[in-house]
Subunit: 122 residues, 2 copies
């Protein structure tokens, strides 16, 4: 779970399949083949309904979905990009191949953590 402010200004949920969660819990790096990590995001919206209850503007909830991103680990198939395949969907439709090729460079700053930004929060 995270809030990305700035230009993105979204609320996001990060999910992992069983392989991903096992590696996270054991603190194992790099993530093994078969890892799938999903990032869902929604607009960061102030909830007037909840704020009325609290008597002040403090409640921010998920609005319309923005886009969904996936990372899939296959060290052979995606050898050129750290073993990760990247995908982004908007309104259920995937971005084109050219857009997907740009994702790896976005994740390079997280190289020390196998190109994954999200850390485990128990």
């Amino acid at each position: 779970v995270a809030h990305e402010a700035g230009n993105l200004n979204d609320l996001r949920a990060i999910l992992g399949n069983d392989v991903a969660m096992k590696a996270y819990r054991e603190g194992k790096l790099p993530f093994p083949d078969g890892t799938i990590i999903a990032r869902l995001a929604w607009e960061y919206v102030s909830s007037e309904e909840n704020n009325k209850v609290f008597g002040r503007a403090q409640s921010f909830v998920a609005g319309s979905p923005t886009n969904d991103q996936f990372m899939v680990k296959d060290s052979k198939k995606y050898a050129a990009t750290g073993g990760w395949g990247f995908a982004q969907f908007k309104d259920g439709k995937p971005d084109d191949e050219a857009a997907h090729k740009t994702r790896f460079s976005c994740h390079e700053p997280a190289k020390a953590h196998d190109f994954v930004f999200t850390r485990y929060a128990p």
Copy 2:
């Protein structure tokens, strides 16, 4: 997924079992018996690691867990509190019975929505 600012200042994830999710998707109210809704929360923490990548302070992630809350629907067992049983856990330990009895009044402002604040975000 939500960010509750103010005194709470947390990031939260709201989960539902199959019964809850079916009712949410169908927009069905009141929630049927067997519904379980869970609310997990963590401290709202600025991520220095991510901010360095973005070049500005925009990334907020889940820190230490604060507490977890549950609502369980059983219209007979919990008839006195709108059909809902409430529970809160901190560090894996439940609050005492007296504390649990105060929860229903917190949820009364959401009466028009069967005492549940969280709305469905597809």
